[in-house]
Amino acid sequence: MNNLVSAENVSRRFPLDHSEVYALDKANLRVSAGEFLAISGPSGSGKSTLLNLMGCIDKPTSGRIVLDGQDTTNLNATGTAALRRKKIGFVFQTFNLIPVFTAGENVEYPLLVNGVSESERREKVAAALESVGLSARAKHRPDLLSGGERQRVAVARAIVHRPALVLADEPTANLDTQNATQLIDLMRELNRSLGLTFIFSTHDQRLLEHTPRIVRLCDGHIVSDSHVGAPTGFERLMEGEFHEQVSAAGVS
């Protein structure tokens, strides 16, 4: 099994004035490439903390996070920035688009910081916007887009550089039902068609209904890890690899 990201005995403790609180306590989780995984739980259960740790924007108090075979625990700021730049895409609850950039320029940004050439950037941005159905909105600034469109731009920005992992923190929390459903379908489709790994935190039941694997958190502990539903992008990927191996072995 192709293990993309794993949290091994990970704890995150936050000091308070006279005490401390464990947002995450000895959590263990393995996510394989191509999975579509939801982290669910009530507010304060540690969903965002786990996502932040897997996204290398926070450091665990103990335990370790391994991403694509690399132990991120001892990486310095430059190292984690490079890792995030290359291997992770983020979708935020409040979209977090750069307001002075157009939709196209926002999608272009990860390629810009990755030092991709202008011609290649142009092609990839067009493809990413096409994949989220916003080619016609490329020249619009975020303030001229609807909430659903903004979040789709954020998804395009997260996938444009083909990261190994896309992390989405409550991506539908600020969307109405119609836009939320569209976004879920879009993310699922990208997971299936591009084989991208999606991990998102949510307590949105609409989103969970479309999710083949749900990890439930409560008070910083993983209380359940359930696989349901149809084959995931990962499974399809594995299936494809299996067929390729069989073909390579000359078995029909």
């Binding site: 920035a81 272009e108 990860p110 910081v113």
Partner: protein, 409 residues
């Protein structure tokens, strides 16, 4: 335009009201420096040219012993073969003419009152040829033609203290070259104003031949050389030095700048004031910009957190803030230069005049020169100030904790 510069440029205009306020402050500072610096440059240049035209000339030639002379027997160290020296100097390129002078001191009396004078004997034709003009309040300038009476010009202050006017007679007393006391009668042909009150109280000018008779000598104190342009002073100075070698008396050449003590004092004072103004503008822009740029950073905390989360390097964030500040400085400097030049041109057209400075009797025209060096210098000053002001917010932004920045509201 690269996307990085585009981002920086658009960020500058993100909060238009704040940007306009900052631009007003920066451009105001630049315009103030341009106006003050341009006026100081105009004053300095005016003083330089008037100093030269009022008789200092571009170059003066003395004997080497002149600067160790006795103040009473001034001509002991004078130039004896001055006509030969003048001819040698006159043949040099860029030299418009040479005027012999005698500086002398003595007593002046009208039979009722006496006073001390500072005498200045000149060849009127040579002076006029070089364009050295005296500012006559009444009467007329010295005439070269021989007349029975010796003509004299005196300063307004001396005329007042002696209670004399044009047409009145005076007796001059001075110590001759061999130490005897001698005197001649002169007639006042004109009353002049030098512009310096202290000098007006002692000023007296008579023709060279009359002074030589009074002092019983053929010598002159110095030769004043006038050039076609002030800018040629160094070139002519270098050319004259070898020409004057080998004469019986050892000569010393002085450039106008070495003799214009007052000019140098004024120039240094104005330079000091301008430098002080520059320091004030620098710190004014620095302190107010730090606040503005910090506010901008706080407002964009979540956005910076997002950029950092996407793997943007710390250096990129720092460079972005510094570039935004530099662009703001560049825009402010551009507006300041244009505005300063426009206001300067307006002042020049209005021909405003300022009251005379201390010790002066003549007012100053408020004229603003357009000096490219000041425009460039003032622009660099405000840009540097803004860039310096941006470093603290930039470093602070680059060091934001991503999780906290993303949670910022």
């Amino acid at each position: 335009m690269s996307k990085f510069l585009l981002l920086a440029f658009r960020n500058v205009f993100r909060n238009r009201r704040r940007t306009i306020m900052t631009l007003l402050m920066v451009s105001g500072g630049v315009a103030a420096l341009l106006l003050a610096g341009g006026h100081f440059a105009s004053m300095t240049q005016g003083l330089r040219e008037s100093t030269i035209r009022n008789g200092l000339g571009h170059i003066q030639i003395f004997t080497a012993e002149h600067f160790r002379r006795d103040e009473v027997r001034v001509l002991d160290t004078g130039i004896d073969n001055w006509r030969q020296v003048a001819a040698t100097v006159s043949s040099a390129e860029h030299v418009r003419g040479v005027a012999p002078r005698i500086e002398f001191y003595g007593m002046v009396s009208n039979g009722q009152k006496s006073s001390v004078y500072m005498g200045n004997a000149v060849d009127p034709d040579a002076e006029r040829g070089l364009g050295f003009a005296t500012h006559l309040v009444s009467g007329h300038d010295l005439d070269a033609k021989q007349s029975a009476d010796v003509e004299a010009l005196i300063g307004t202050g001396l005329a007042k203290s002696m209670n004399v006017k044009v047409g009145d007679g005076l007796t001059l007393l001075a110590v001759t070259s061999d130490g005897a006391l001698n005197g001649i009668d002169v007639q006042i042909e004109g009353i002049v104003e030098t512009g310096v009150a202290d000098l007006d109280a002692r000023y007296l000018r008579i023709p060279l031949d009359a002074a030589q008779r009074l002092l019983q000598t053929d010598r002159v104190t110095n030769l004043v050389v006038g050039l076609d342009e002030t800018a040629n002073t160094d070139r002519v100075y270098d050319e004259l030095a070898p020409r004057l070698n080998g004469l019986r008396q050892r000569m010393e050449i002085r450039k106008w700048i070495d003799l214009a003590t007052y000019y140098k004092q004024v120039r240094n004072l104005l330079n000091g004031i301008f430098l002080f103004m520059g320091v004030i503008v620098f710190f004014m822009v620095l302190m107010s910009s730090i606040n503005t740029l910090l506010m901008s950073m706080f407002e964009r905390t979540r956005e910076i957190g997002t950029m950092l989360a996407m793997g943007t390097s710390h250096l990129w964030i720092i460079a972005l803030f510094v570039t935004e500040a530099a662009l703001l400085g560049l825009l402010g400097a551009g507006i300041g230069v244009a505005g300063g030049d426009l206001i300067g041109a307006l002042f020049n057209a209005l021909k405003l005049s300022l009251p005379p400075p201390p010790g002066y009797t003549v007012g100053i025209l408020f004229h603003v020169q357009h000096v490219p060096g000041i425009m460039i210098g003032a622009s660099i000053l405000v840009i540097a100030s803004l860039v310096l002001a941006s470093i603290f917010p930039a470093v602070r932004a680059s060091r934001l904790r991503i999780v906290e920045a993303l949670a910022h509201v």
